[in-house]
């Protein structure tokens, strides 16, 4: 599946391939009210990746609802990424969207590094995470996927707190906090000063965290962070992820998601695996031998 924020509301990539080839479409971080986002410049290319500080620009939950309904034409499960600055704001998004049958699950963004309050602040304190998840658990019967920040000392503590709060699954990692300076202009590139690093540069960090978290909790993990092809995706599956998402690589290769689906399929067939489930956590089993 595509990672949130890297695939708009699906419509931007529909000209390139049949969206039903995806496991799910994960749409952009959506807040209760429309959000204008951060001032530009919002992007900086870096070695092996990029920094972004979009600041959760989105049309708000009511407009997102229309876009999710429109996505139904591709008969693909839709996961909406829910963002906010308070538990009430997260709940408000869920209230607007919860009756949509096309909506398969919520991905709760407690890890955006680019908003001043809330976002990542929610994602770095285990007690706060557990309380938020518990509260949202009461607000919906749909699956809750909690998206974790890598910008913490011990990601497993946050993962356990989310699981204890009642999360159905976890997705990790969100972007790593970073910055860049333009030495000609002698100032930071991003208007927001800092931004989230994504792309191949973060893959080893993401893979390590997926390994750690899948060792610490029983609930399934969606692995993401720097995946650009099927080989990368298979690494995440072997580290213990039950599914994978691709983010920034969509920008460079709009076909990266369907190509990765095919690549995983070929790998499974060539190596005599009947199902992708057989390779989930396989590297861990081999390592423990």
């Amino acid at each position: 599946m595509p990672a949130s924020g890297c695939f708009g509301y699906g419509e931007e990539y529909a000209p390139f391939f049949d969206l039903s080839r995806l496991g799910a479409v994960v749409v952009k971080g959506t807040t209760a009210e429309p959000c204008a986002g951060n001032p530009p410049p919002r992007l900086a290319e870096t070695t092996g990746g990029m920094l972004n500080a979009i600041g959760l620009q989105n049309p708000g939950a009511a407009a997102a609802r229309e876009k999710i309904v429109a996505l139904q034409q591709w008969s693909v499960p839709v996961i909406v990424n829910v963002s906010g600055h308070s538990a009430a704001q997260y709940r408000a998004v869920i209230e607007v969207l919860d009756d949509l049958s096309a909506l398969a699950a919520y991905e709760i963004n407690i890890s955006c590094p680019n908003v001043k309050a809330g976002g990542m602040a929610f994602g770095t304190d285990p007690a706060v995470v557990a309380a938020l998840v518990r509260e949202l658990r009461c607000a919906t019967k749909k699956p809750l996927i909690i998206k974790l920040s890598p910008n913490v000392t011990d990601v497993t503590a946050i993962a356990r707190a989310a699981a204890e709060g009642g999360a159905d699954a976890l997705s990790l990692i969100n972007t790593l906090l970073g910055m860049a300076i333009d030495i000609e202009r002698r100032r930071p590139v991003l208007a927001n000063l800092t931004g989230g690093l994504s792309g191949p540069a973060i893959k080893p960090v993401a893979l390590r965290m997926v390994w750690q978290v899948t060792s610490a909790v029983e609930i399934p993990v969606i692995g993401m962070g720097g995946i650009t092809n099927a080989r990368d995706a298979i690494e995440f599956l072997m580290a213990g992820a039950s599914a994978v998402a691709i983010g920034a690589a969509n920008f460079t290769n709009p076909l990266v998601c369907p190509e990765t689906v095919e690549g995983i399929r070929s790998y499974l067939a060539e190596n005599g695996f009947a199902s992708v489930r057989e390779i989930v956590g396989l590297a861990k089993k081999e390592w423990q031998k």
Binding site: Y13, P15, R42, L43, G49, I54, Q57, A248, F251, T252
Partner: protein, 253 residues
């Protein structure tokens, strides 16, 4: 229809030190003002595609004129005739034609690149075109004779006076914007665009400018390339709402 293409390179030629003209074998139905996202490397290093404006297009060719500024464009410049290029496009908005019979076109530096196709489009539509071409030095006035051949009136300005007037191109264009019942088009550095927009607004001319921004996706998904705009929305995307904007939408006080 926006699409991924693999196009054969017909010609790769230096037109001045640090500037290349690349000719590809198919036109991809691009309009003047649109751009393509070029993949400079088959790997993800550099990570992002490079946005390059369409310099010229026809059914059987797509021409890109670009400056080699970093590693991505250096890799692009190293590609030879016979090789293929992976590109995404055509992307973005195009320069609209209006009912005015005259046009004033202002170019600054490599901002001239997309204006060549505009000049051809205007000429084909029977417009009288006054073209003002500014650059730092004579060497950076690229393909001068080709531009001159498309314009009804042609003027040059350089910062150092090595060709044309030693003046700002906007000062050179100001009398034409003031006196001609023309639509104004511009592409170049931001201060130049701002001044063209100011002049056009003052004299009541409709004006279209092409903007540049750091892009990631190029298709409107990432929201990385936005510019502040006047109106209900606070920001609009350069990649799909632009790169060509009505000047009054993006330059305001």
């Amino acid at each position: 229809m926006l699409k991924l293409h693999t196009l054969k390179i017909i010609k790769q030629e230096p037109v001045a030190p640090g500037y290349q003209r690349l000719t590809l074998a198919r036109g991809i139905a691009a309009q003047a003002g649109q751009f393509v996202q070029v993949r400079a490397s088959e790997t993800f290093d550099p990570f992002l595609r490079r946005p390059i404006s369409v310099h010229d297009a026809a059914e059987d060719r797509l021409v890109l004129l670009y400056r080699t500024v970093g590693r991505g464009t250096a890799l692009l410049a190293a590609k030879k005739a016979g090789e293929t290029l992976d590109l995404l496009g055509p992307l973005g908005s195009s320069f609209p034609l209006t009912d005015r019979a005259q046009a004033v076109v202002v170019a600054g530096g490599i901002g001239a690149a997309p204006l060549y196709y505009l000049l051809r489009t205007l000429k084909r539509a029977g417009k009288q075109v006054s073209f003002f071409y500014g650059a730092r030095t004579e060497a950076e006035l690229l393909l001068r004779e080709e531009y001159r051949a498309l314009a009804t009136n042609y003027s040059e300005a350089t910062d150092d006076g090595s060709a044309g007037s030693r003046a700002l191109v906007t000062d050179l264009a100001a009398p034409a914007i003031a006196s001609l019942d023309a639509t104004v088009y511009a592409c170049g550095p931001s201060p130049m665009l701002k001044e063209v927009a100011r002049l056009a607004d003052y004299y009541g001319r409709s004006c279209f400018v092409s903007l540049e921004a750091q892009l990631a996706c190029g298709v409107g998904a990432c929201l990385g390339c936005v510019v502040p705009v006047r109106g209900q929305e606070k920001y609009r995307r350069v990649c799909v709402d632009g790169p060509v904007f009505a000047a009054g939408e993006v330059f305001f006080c």
